[in-house]
Each structure stands twice: as structure tokens, then as C-alpha cells.
Symmetry: C2
Subunit: 139 residues, 2 copies
DNA sequence: CTAAATGCAAAAAGTTTGCAAACGT
DNA sequence: ACGTTTGCAAACTTTTTGCATTTAG
């Protein structure tokens, strides 16, 4: 079962309607080797669906994220990036060119345990981003 | 030497001009027991300076951040929050009410070392946020 | 005196919303 | 058929910019 078929099955079981545009956005995210912005997704979709609207892109991205089929990566005032990889992982971000790379690292469960102990707080998840300069950006 | 005097000394040595509004923003941040947005800072300043402009707030926040006297905490499409505490620390954020608490935890140097080893990447810093529900927000 | 900061208004950028028409189930 | 999604335009929010006036050093 391909990742796309798997994701479509997930949509069906969550009663998320299978529309052409929605599947196209999902497929694009699953096969994307970088972390696209809504606008980049819009432009990519635009070649196949010349009349697609940005609102449709945003709407579908939100629905996919709400249903665990994509992740939104927010970066301050910069446009959000989207990630079709919903497995837990961290990110490495270049301060200079903005490139985002995935970082596989053992999940920091101990910090979550610590927080639940010291604070009266029920942890749901955490986010870790490493900033710096990528190879192509340092002298 | 108070935190404010200390910060003003830092401004002088960085050739950052000491204006009434700038010092007021800085003082507000240093004494603020929460993490205010630009708008909250604007409203607080507005009582003392009825004609202050949002542009002045943003301008000063940017200058303070650029000079290491404040930190901007970005949260996606939600307005940025500002932190007068420039010592390294993490944050705990409530998914429900949005409240932000400081988290003192030993800095994760080992992850930075790891990233520099596996990736060709010069790390400058990292950010870690813990999400979940605060006491007042869980049943 | 000079360069930077202020206040104002307008612009910019990203995202959301309202609505009629089209579509999925 | 029904309710959801689409596409369009307009609205909205946060932040930035341009510019004349004021202020700090």
C-alpha cells in the first residue's frame, strides 16, 4: 500500500471527502523533497488546475493538518511550511537561506516527563528547531 | 545596578539611542510578568504616551531584539510575543489558553554537537517549546 | 548640527471568510 | 438530494515602509 493510498484510507475513515484538489495537494506533499509554503503548493497545483484558488489550498492544508495527514511548520512572520512527513522529527533551519532539513534524533521524552513533574501541565508534544548556517551558506 | 540600568548601559555601548519611548518599552518588558504581544505593549504604552504609534513599538522591539535586549517568540500566525528575559530558557505553551510559561532546563548542548557532526551545519542556537494543557485548562 | 527616532497613514504579506456554483457521497 | 468543497473577491491581522517633523548626542 503506497503512502498515498494509505493516506486516502485515513481520510475516508475520518470522513474527509476525497476531492481531486485535496488529493493533489496531499500527493504533492507526500512526494515533495522539501518543505513547501502554501504559495509554492499553490503554484505547483496551478499547472495542473489552472483555476485552483489559494483559498482551496489553505482550506485543504488546514483539513489535512487537522486530520494528522500533514504538519504545519511555522516560522515567525515568514510563511508557514508544510510537511507531508507526519512521523515525529525535528528540523534544522539555515539562518541565511532558510533551507529546512529534517533531523532524526531520539525524541526528548525526558523533557516532557520533567515538565509534567515540575509544572502542573499535561504535555501533548514538543517542538525543537536547530538554527545555524548550512554548508552552502558559510564562508 | 538594576536590570534597567544594566540594559541602558548595554544600549549606550551599542550606540542605541536612549529615547523616552524606547526606554519605556524596555522597562515594560523587563518588569512584565507575562509574555506580551506588540499590541499589548502598545496598549500599555498608550496610557503613558497617548500619541505613541504602533510603528514606534515595532521599531523599538526590533531594535531591542537586534541588540540582545529582548527576544521575540514567534507562534505561527498568532502575533509574536516578546520576552525581556534574554537568558537562555525554553517555553511551555498551553494549547487551550495560549499561556506561555518559562521553563528552566539544562541547555541541550548535546543535540547541537550531534547536528554539527552528522550534518555539515554550523549551529547558532536552538529553540524548544513544550505544548500541552495548563492546570486551569484541563478538566 | 546631523543622523536617528517618532507618529501618521498607507502598504504589504499571509491567511481567512462569505457566498454562489459545482461536486462527492 | 444533501451537505461539503470550490473559486472568487473581499476582509482581516500583523508587521513594515515612506515621509515630514521632532529629538538625542
Amino acid at each position: 500500500m503506497s503512502k498515498l493510498e494509505d493516506a486516502i484510507a485515513k481520510m475516508k475513515s475520518s470522513n474527509v471527502r476525497i476531492t481531486t484538489q485535496r488529493v493533489a495537494v496531499l500527493e504533492y506533499l507526500l512526494n515533495c523533497e522539501f518543505h513547501p509554503s502554501a504559495d509554492e503548493i499553490y503554484k505547483a497545483m496551478n499547472t495542473r488546475f489552472p483555476s485552483i484558488s489559494r483559498a482551496t489550498i489553505y482550506n485543504n492544508l488546514n483539513i489535512l493538518c487537522e486530520n494528522g495527514l500533514a504538519r504545519e511548520l511555522t516560522f515567525g512572520n515568514a510563511p508557514s511550511r508544510f510537511d507531508g512527513n507526519t512521523k515525529d522529527h525535528y528540523h534544522i533551519i539555515c539562518n541565511n537561506c532558510g533551507k529546512i532539513a529534517d533531523l532524526q534524533y531520539p525524541l526528548l521524552k525526558e523533557i516532557e516527563v520533567f515538565v509534567e513533574q515540575i509544572a502542573e501541565f499535561k504535555v501533548s508534544h514538543h517542538r525543537l528547531d536547530i538554527y545555524g548556517k548550512c554548508v552552502t551558506c558559510y564562508d
